[in-house]
Structure formats: C-alpha cells, structure tokens
C-alpha cells in the first residue's frame, strides 16, 4: 500500500511544482486572437501582445516566460490561481473585471464593431431574429447578451471559431473588437465581409491584468509601459501590425 502511495505521489509530483514568488515573471496570453496573439507552426506565441510583453520585460530587466495557449473564458481565474502573474491578452478594462483583478494603464485603445457579409443589407439598428456571434467572456459577448435581447446569440470559445462560423454563414453578424476584425477583413477568409454600422463602444481601453495584491508588479509594468512609449519601442511594434496608431 505504501509503495502504491509513493508511486502515485511521484507520478502526480512530476507536474506539481512549488512556486516561489521570486521566480521569473509568467505572462499569460490566449493565443487565438490574431494579430494580437496567436500560436505559430513551432507552437510559439506571437503577435502584438507578445511583442509588448517582451518589450516590457526587457525594459524591467525581468526574466519572463510567455504562458500560452490559454482558454479565454477562464483566463482571469487562472491568474488568480497564480498559474501566471500577468495577462497581456488584449483584455478590455471593465468594471466587472476590476472586481476580480487589477489593471495597469491602458496599452492600446479599441472599439466594438459589427461585421457582416458585403451586400447582405443588414440594418445594424434592427437585428431582430438575426444570428449574432461573439466570443464568450468578452465585452462583445456582454454587449450582445445585455443589449441585443431579440437576436439569436451564439457564444464561441475562441474568436477563431466565431470567424469560421461567420465565414460559413452560420452567424450573420459578428460583434467584435474592431482591430482584430480589421486584420481579419484583410485576410483571404474575410475578404467578402465588411464593417456595418457605427462603432459601438468607443471608449474601450486595453490593459494588462495582474492580481489585486500585486500592486508592486502593477507599478513596475506602468513605469515600463511609459518608458517604451517614450523611447519609441511601442511605435515600432505598433507599425509592425497597423499602419495607424492604436495607443
């Protein structure tokens, strides 16, 4: 019996680590939200968020590890369970999330918008009965569930799956952050689609989430963010993805 118990402990023990606070900084990102974060052929994370995270780490002279891919709808829970120390994953700063985590200063700004097939003649002010998609646990999803009561709402685990269903015609309208949608519209799959209506939420700020107790880390990230904006690093990263400033 003892032998079994030891063997069991050893097997599970392979994956259990005693983490110390002084270890390197672990930064979580979703890895399914191009061009902000994605996973490439080598299984490595890439994108605007990842570049920003690495620039911040270089600025803070900290050793960092990018933790990806992660499930979006549980990404905040993972942070509070100390699976990583910060989330750099295009997360909107919202009052709802502030109850669970703390945010740094914003590192870019965004809008919500709607996307539909070109020439589908969808009236963005009257979506009654239309199928509307959004990613679960995002401000887009909250917008759909709170403000579009008479639509057929469909929530996806990843933005990628929402794109697949928009492209196949399963959903007629996608409510999404504007910048990733802008990037998707320029892709082969998104070529036949367009923005419809006005931007919805025009005051969406994207920040880095940290645990509420880690005020020290939050201050350090804020200082580093100021520094990379001031020394031009931010601008260089921005230019890699968008021909206009998104700060």
């Amino acid at each position: 019996m003892k032998k079994i118990a030891i063997a069991l402990a050893a097997v599970i023990g392979l994956g259990v680590s005693m983490a110390n606070a002084a270890d390197k900084l672990r930064i979580g990102t979703e890895g399914a939200y191009p061009p902000f974060n994605g996973i490439d052929k080598e299984g490595k994370a890439f994108g605007f968020d990842v570049d920003i995270a690495n620039a911040l780490c270089a600025e803070m002279k900290a050793e960092c590890e990018i933790v990806a891919p992660l499930e979006w709808d549980s990404i905040i829970i993972g942070l509070n369970k100390k699976k990583y120390d910060a989330i750099v994953a295009s997360m909107s700063i919202t009052e709802e999330r502030k109850k669970a985590v703390a945010f740094t200063d914003p590192y870019y700004s965004n809008n919500l918008t709607m996307v539909a097939k070109k020439g589908a003649n969808i009236d963005p002010n009257n979506l009654k009965g239309k199928s509307v998609g959004a990613q679960r646990a995002t401000i887009s999803a909250n917008y759909v569930t709170d403000n579009m009561k008479d639509v057929d709402a469909k929530l996806y685990d990843t933005q990628e799956n929402a794109y697949l269903d928009l492209a196949s015609g399963r959903v007629e309208v996608l409510v999404s952050d504007k910048l990733p949608a802008y990037d998707w519209l320029r892709s082969e799959q998104g070529a036949g689609f367009e923005f419809i209506g006005d931007a919805i939420d025009v005051n969406d700020k994207i920040g880095i989430a940290v645990r509420k107790k880690d005020d020290d880390l939050r201050m350090k990230l804020n200082a580093a963010l100021k520094a990379i904006v001031a020394n031009g690093t931010y601008e260089k990263i921005n230019a890699k993805y968008f021909p206009f400033s998104i700060f």
């Binding site: 019996m1 079994i4 063997a7 069991l8 097997v11 599970i12 392979l14 994956g15 259990v16 680590s17 005693m18 983490a19 110390n20 606070a21 890895g31 399914a32 191009p34 994605g38 996973i39 490439d40 052929k41 080598e42 299984g43 891919p69 992660l70 499930e71 549980s74 829970i77 369970k81 100390k82 699976k83 990843t158 990628e160 697949l164 492209a167 082969e188 799959q189």
Partner: protein, 231 residues
C-alpha cells in the same frame, strides 16, 4: 495525401502528447481503481462508504466537468493541505498533471468495479490454501489475488482504456497542447477545419486500433497458463 502546410511537426507532437496523457491517466487510474476496489471490499463500513461515494459521484458527472474541477479546484485543496503542513509557498499543478489526474480519477471509478468483480471471482479455496500455507494477508494479495484478478480484469480494463484514449481529447479544453488542441491551432492559421480534424480523427483511429491489437495480444498472453491447463 494531405498538405500539412508546415503544421506536421505540431500535429505529431500533439499525437505524442495524447499518448503520454493516455498512459499517465492509465497509471493513475489503475491505482485509483485498486484503492477503490480495496475500499469497496473492505470489512469497514466507513471505507465501503467512501468507495461507494467515489464510484457513484464520478460515474455520474461528465468527464469534462471532472477535468475542469481538478484543474481549478485541485490546487485549492493541495494548498489547504500545504498550509496545514506549514508550507507557506504556493503549490501549483500544471495542465499535464491536472489532465492525467482528472482522467485517472474518472478511469479509476470504472476500474474499481472491474477490479472488484475480478477480485471476487478469485476462488475462495486458493485464498484458504494460502492462509493454510501461513501467508500473511499482504502476501496473499500480492502473490495470489492480484495476479489472478489482473487476468480476469484485463478485458474490462482494455475497454476502459479505449474510453480513456478518447477522453484525452477533453484535456484540450484546459489548453494542454495535445492532438486536438494542436489541430485547432493549425486550423486557426490555415482556415481548413475539415482537413485537420479529419487528420486528427485518422490519428485517433490508428492509436485506438493499435491499442486494440495490443489488448488482444495481452489477453492471449495472460491466458496462456489457463489454456495450457485446459488442454
């Protein structure tokens, strides 16, 4: 036949991870199964109660919920134990450990019944003979009961392992980079869901078929002695 568009290595790595998760889950599941069977056959009502609750609860809720609960709840429990023992650091379970533990817990609940049945069908006379030879109870378990129960349990365990192999796809939902997850990544980049999920399906079919063949071979091997005695 298929254009992997550069994602071949990721898919292969995912398949390898799937196999590791399956065998990790099997190992833990066998231990849970033996402990469960031990508890259910125990002379103490308290232990029987624990065994009964374990199999009832685990077999009654979806595997995916077990995976999610172990992933999110497992650490809380470990850290509470850590606090009790005076360890003030933070204990972390990575996705791999959470995945194989969850699959093992689920496998173990079904294996409990298989082992219980097998142990009960070891002839009573043999155990009496062992007692008569002066063996102690742990010796009887390791030398007489377990080897024979294993043979009887083999077909049942084989079926459970087939289920476990397929359930490994569930740990993709806690972002462990196994076959399903990496297929999803390839699809995000290539926009070809059919191609990559079909490849994944073929790989799963290959794995389950190979395991099935292994199972048939193992059963033949385990029954060798018995057949010889019959002829």
């Amino acid at each position: 036949m298929f254009d992997f568009q550069g994602f071949g290595p990721q898919i292969a790595y995912g398949a390898w991870m799937t196999i590791q998760v399956a065998f990790g889950g099997l190992l833990i599941g066998l231990v849970f199964g033996l402990l469960g069977a031990g508890a259910k056959l125990s002379p103490y009502a308290f232990l029987r109660g624990i065994g009964q609750s374990y199999t009832t609860v685990v077999r009654g809720i979806p595997e995916i919920l077990i995976v999610l609960l172990v992933y999110f709840g497992g650490e809380d429990i470990l850290n509470r134990i850590g606090d009790q023992l005076g360890y003030d650091g933070y204990i972390e379970i990575n996705v791999f450990a959470a995945g194989i533990t969850a699959l093992g817990v689920s496998f173990g609940a079904y294996a409990t019944e298989v082992f219980r049945g097998a142990i009960q069908s070891v002839p009573r006379g043999q155990i009496e003979a062992a007692i008569a030879c002066g063996m102690q109870s742990h010796q009887i378990f390791w030398r007489i009961t377990l080897p024979q129960a294993m043979r009887l349990a083999l077909p049942g365990l084989g079926n459970l392992f087939q289920c476990l192999l397929k359930d490994t796809s569930l740990v993709s939902l806690i972002s462990l980079p196994e076959l399903m997850r990496n297929s999803g990544i390839a699809i995000a980049n290539t926009k070809e869901p059919f191609t990559f999920y079909f490849i994944a399906a073929l790989i799963y079919l290959t794995i389950t078929s190979v395991v099935l063949l292994g199972q048939i071979y193992a059963e033949k091997w385990a029954n060798k002695g018995v057949q010889r005695a019959n002829s």
